[in-house]
Symmetry: D5
Subunit: 172 residues, 10 copies
Amino acid sequence: MAEPPKLASLDSSIISRLPSFSSILFEAKTAQGLTFEQIAAHLGRSELAVAALFYGQAQASAEDVAKLTALLGLPRTGAGAGGAAAAVAQMTGFPDRGRAGPMPPVEPLIYRLYEIVQNYGYAYKAVLNEKFGDGIMSAISFSSKVEKEVDESGAPWVVITLRGKWLPFTRF
Amino acid sequence: MAEPPKLASLDSSIISRLPSFSSILFEAKTAQGLTFEQIAAHLGRSELAVAALFYGQAQASAEDVAKLTALLGLPRTGAGAGGAAAAVAQMTGFPDRGRAGPMPPVEPLIYRLYEIVQNYGYAYKAVLNEKFGDGIMSAISFSSKVEKEVDESGAPWVVITLRGKWLPFTRF
Amino acid sequence: MAEPPKLASLDSSIISRLPSFSSILFEAKTAQGLTFEQIAAHLGRSELAVAALFYGQAQASAEDVAKLTALLGLPRTGAGAGGAAAAVAQMTGFPDRGRAGPMPPVEPLIYRLYEIVQNYGYAYKAVLNEKFGDGIMSAISFSSKVEKEVDESGAPWVVITLRGKWLPFTRF
Amino acid sequence: MAEPPKLASLDSSIISRLPSFSSILFEAKTAQGLTFEQIAAHLGRSELAVAALFYGQAQASAEDVAKLTALLGLPRTGAGAGGAAAAVAQMTGFPDRGRAGPMPPVEPLIYRLYEIVQNYGYAYKAVLNEKFGDGIMSAISFSSKVEKEVDESGAPWVVITLRGKWLPFTRF
Amino acid sequence: MAEPPKLASLDSSIISRLPSFSSILFEAKTAQGLTFEQIAAHLGRSELAVAALFYGQAQASAEDVAKLTALLGLPRTGAGAGGAAAAVAQMTGFPDRGRAGPMPPVEPLIYRLYEIVQNYGYAYKAVLNEKFGDGIMSAISFSSKVEKEVDESGAPWVVITLRGKWLPFTRF
Amino acid sequence: MAEPPKLASLDSSIISRLPSFSSILFEAKTAQGLTFEQIAAHLGRSELAVAALFYGQAQASAEDVAKLTALLGLPRTGAGAGGAAAAVAQMTGFPDRGRAGPMPPVEPLIYRLYEIVQNYGYAYKAVLNEKFGDGIMSAISFSSKVEKEVDESGAPWVVITLRGKWLPFTRF
Amino acid sequence: MAEPPKLASLDSSIISRLPSFSSILFEAKTAQGLTFEQIAAHLGRSELAVAALFYGQAQASAEDVAKLTALLGLPRTGAGAGGAAAAVAQMTGFPDRGRAGPMPPVEPLIYRLYEIVQNYGYAYKAVLNEKFGDGIMSAISFSSKVEKEVDESGAPWVVITLRGKWLPFTRF
Amino acid sequence: MAEPPKLASLDSSIISRLPSFSSILFEAKTAQGLTFEQIAAHLGRSELAVAALFYGQAQASAEDVAKLTALLGLPRTGAGAGGAAAAVAQMTGFPDRGRAGPMPPVEPLIYRLYEIVQNYGYAYKAVLNEKFGDGIMSAISFSSKVEKEVDESGAPWVVITLRGKWLPFTRF
Amino acid sequence: MAEPPKLASLDSSIISRLPSFSSILFEAKTAQGLTFEQIAAHLGRSELAVAALFYGQAQASAEDVAKLTALLGLPRTGAGAGGAAAAVAQMTGFPDRGRAGPMPPVEPLIYRLYEIVQNYGYAYKAVLNEKFGDGIMSAISFSSKVEKEVDESGAPWVVITLRGKWLPFTRF
Amino acid sequence: MAEPPKLASLDSSIISRLPSFSSILFEAKTAQGLTFEQIAAHLGRSELAVAALFYGQAQASAEDVAKLTALLGLPRTGAGAGGAAAAVAQMTGFPDRGRAGPMPPVEPLIYRLYEIVQNYGYAYKAVLNEKFGDGIMSAISFSSKVEKEVDESGAPWVVITLRGKWLPFTRF
């Protein structure tokens, strides 16, 4: 029996931590059988940003919502659209970030990212300070992408790129 | 008055959390006026890995130690070398990782990395699951680098690359 | 397509931490398309205080409620007003403060304020002690405002002012 | 008996959390009988920034160190200066911020600032979002000052101003 | 417009932490427009004890329940009384104390009491030990009251009295 | 064998949490065989305030220090007084409060006070709100005393009085 | 008015932490007016074990369930018994222990037991090690009972007995 | 080779949490080869109480100290006794209880006692409430003992008895 | 009366932490009277993996779902299957691991496993480092099994085997 | 240059958490160039148990100490042996377990073991309950071993076996 393509969905036990549009979007995505890559191509945005938007961690423009509701077959406005339309309209609101999962993360995949910060945090700081001075890499003027590489043995590797503006501490 | 080049050093209040060779290495690095970039070039290793090694978060090979003690003018073996030689010899031991700083991080630079995990953790998971299946990106079969970009307006940007092997969950 | 003005709304996942009038007020505000600045002008109160009132962190006077229900088209009293009227009436009650969000904050905007306390807390204490003696700045006999500045390059800056009565420790 | 002017000093139980120059600076400040206001005037920096520098939460320029060591009568370089000179030299290093005190703060004065964030955090967010859009107030491109006001009844009030650059979330 | 007398009520977000009779009692109290002082007078108990009883932190006698249901117009027994009667009957049960709010308290008024324990805890211990020996002040064989004083300038002061039996540690 | 009068002293394991003058004062107090009641009478201050001062939780005036050093036979100034004089001089500094013991308290006597806040916190809030309005009892414009009562059966009771100024929330 | 005998019941705010049969059992116990002592006598088990069983902390045998449902008038099996029968059937399942209340306990009665462990933990260990060697007292091969004593003055005392098998650490 | 009798001693890593007399007492006990049972017999106190006294969790009378110093060959007073005599004198001071080990306990033996409270806490409360009313078992008017039983199979069992005065909540 | 075979079921208080299919699966398992061993045999997977799958901690293949729904009599697809079919379909999704229970575990059985990590963690590390070098045992390329042994005295022993791939830290 | 065999050693920052003999043993082991496997063979004990013994998590017999001091060239008794002999003698004392590292573990290798408990805890419980009934696997009547396997591709695998006695909950 052929396996259908695997799509990320929402564990029911996490729904109460997310805005109400999250479960609507994920259900529609599953119903349409769309990957984040496909949705991102349609919206002209990064795959990661679109996933963040589904989890309520990024803001949608009105144009994003128009394209997304069309693609996913969701109600956008109008009589009869009911709660779903109101929920979807919240996507253009200001995200209330940072509450999707517990910290330290308990999910093994997310924990590995946390562990990188735990183990290499001071090393990043030392190298960045020497290269840029006293400051931080912004997590706001920031973008990130995920890529796949396959090595000579055929094994897959993940490449995550974090790109943030350097902000020097103001002298005052 | 011309400012001397700024080098990362060790806050005295963090020393008790690190192996004893950490303060010896940082002091020698300051005395020699060397950046991590210079030391990394000498060792043929990544700048970030060398910084991690100074913080006791990565293992040195015997060859690393030989090159490093030569470069930094540190005692390596022999009578009279005293505690410093013994401490330096620990660099080839098995690192006891993860205790350099508190989690959640209180240092603003390190906190920004933590915040990226907090905000985008589930988005990374969703995208990685769709691209690779059920598994994790290894933080062990892993390397990372730090680069500097300057945009058209002359503003500096940090680019951090994380590269880890994809490990699928074993079916059993 | 022109973007509608962006209004702060309530993430559905935070509602259970707030008094029941919070979601009623935010929904009416959205329906009326009003900003906190507009509501504050109507009430003759500070924009920040009005936002705090919506989150159940400040007390409304009976006059505030009268003006607010009129402006937002909410039921205030009378038969048929139902649960909404009762909820709105709670606005003149004694706020049960401090439970809107987790501490340390996970929302990046709120975290930055927390970080200022974390980094500069002792510096504020030292300066305040030298200027005022042994005591505290009250967070009760207290007001705050938010202003916008634009620098010569056109970049926007936030200016937050905190004004609190100085309270010396009683000698006893 | 006339009371001498009160100067902020360092509680001995906090010293191990701070860089080693902190206690050297505070002791010299006490010996010279200087307030932060006086030192700040000498350095041409903000009073708060100078206090932060004493606590290891801000970076000193080489010129700051030159002026400061002269004013406080501290050794700066040279044979025989010993540990103090080395410690003072660390002031131009990259600060390892955020570890001066526990969070939540237990010191009543610092707790009041924390409480303001706890109570008004979401109100600040709502007002800032409506005024500026989706983003944060930077705590890095940031300055702050402390002022004293006296009301008509003669009671003193503290005015703390926080000024940070607005950083919009990057759309990606 | 004359303000009605302000009565303590129950924030809806705290209800799930309290026994089910709490919201019934508070609603009836509001409907009857009664203060805790008035209810306490009717019951012949302390005002504070009555408030504690409403929050499920103290036990009611059968006589208390009889008086209280009469005063508040609540069902006590009998067919048709439904859930309210059952809930009220629980007031004579054994209280499950200590879960009304989080610790450390986030409510500013309650935090101030906590802060007194934090700051003066060891001072109370030292004075009590010298006055009474090795032991504790009971929080069980205990009563407390709240009084209002007005100083010569017309400013109100709170006086809280804690009275507990001294219990010496048993020598064994 | 007659027992000597019992005096509060300092557990050696708590010393690192307190300012350095704490152990000097307690040792001198023990050597002189003085109770806090006797020292308080000599200083004209409250017994509890004097104990707080010994734990670094309250500020001493210059006159307090003069009287205290005379009573306890401690060096105050002058050549040869050494570290003790410097430590004692810190008593007139600005206390760094709140770090004497852990919270929640583990000491049974202090825990009982904490438990009173835990159990009766909301009851105090409700009663104070009804009596005074929306505000807090200050823990800064505050004094406290400890008294002993003996009931008709001869059993001792502790009476602790907390007196704090009422501070209404500013309307803004 | 004669007080009815007091029975332990279930605070409604704790129900969500317990298995669903807990509230069914407690309600039936209240309806039947039975004490744990009476139920224990009927089941031939310890009073404490029966209470633990009601809280989902101990396993019931099929015979226990038969006796208990008969005594309490509860449905056990059969059409029409509905959810209650299913819930009761869970009593013979494997208990998911340890989640009834928070740790550290906030309930004063339970806290006192916790405090005994906190204060005397190492003393118990030292005495047990000397008496039995290197090992532990099992909390699994374990029983406990509660008894009442009245001293010569008529004051009641609680006697709790803990009896556990000694398990020596395996040498390997 | 015959094993010497095993005596409880002090792990060096716990010493900083205990009063300074703890290590002096344990070392002398080891040197004299005495068990707590032997010391308790000499002092006429409970074995557990003596162990608690060694850990700084119970108070010694002057007579206890006299007997103990004689038995252990410790200096008690007099010139030349030095720090040990001063430390021993602290045994009659007021214990600063509860800080010997972390909570939750990490030591397996102590954890088992904690687990009993965690699992059976509410069961103890229910049974005690039904037997005694609304109140607590005192941990202050309290004694405890440890006994050894051997069952018919020769296996050893621990019997711990906790005996505390019942304290009813005061009605006020 | 013969006891029916005991099956693991789901405590109702844990359901909200698990995906919605968990309670559906456990109920069907109970209804069919099947053990994990029987289900595992039917699926051709490990007994432990099947239990993990029921708790939402492992991924099911489409074939697993087909076999499982057939065995348990669950709807898999089609009109009228309703929520159960959708929930079951989620079993092939990407598990959101790690949230089934609190850490540290409060369930005694799970705590014992945690305690093994707590007590022997560094010993495992030291032995693994010496045997394999600098790296970790994967918990992803990982399988585990549970076996029963009976010793010569007839006492049952649990044997848990953990088998994970060794991953050396990448040198970079 | 040939790398010397790698031996597990002690990170200097962990020493204060361990008994004083730990650093003595590790230093002697390094000086003698011995692996745990070699020491275990000499002692006739498990490699893991010997490592645990070095970390103060297991008890040594007098015979273990005799063999170990002979093998490592350590003083055992006698004049002039000094502190080392006393420290070594402590190895036969009762271990104060569980404090070697923080929980949750920050060391990646140890964290993986913790993660197995976090992810599979309830699955182990369900399987064990069905196989053995209501009880636990003892972590005291317990042994464990570590083995190395190499798969057909030459990749190394770790096999950890945990073997503990099954303890059924006592019915009482």
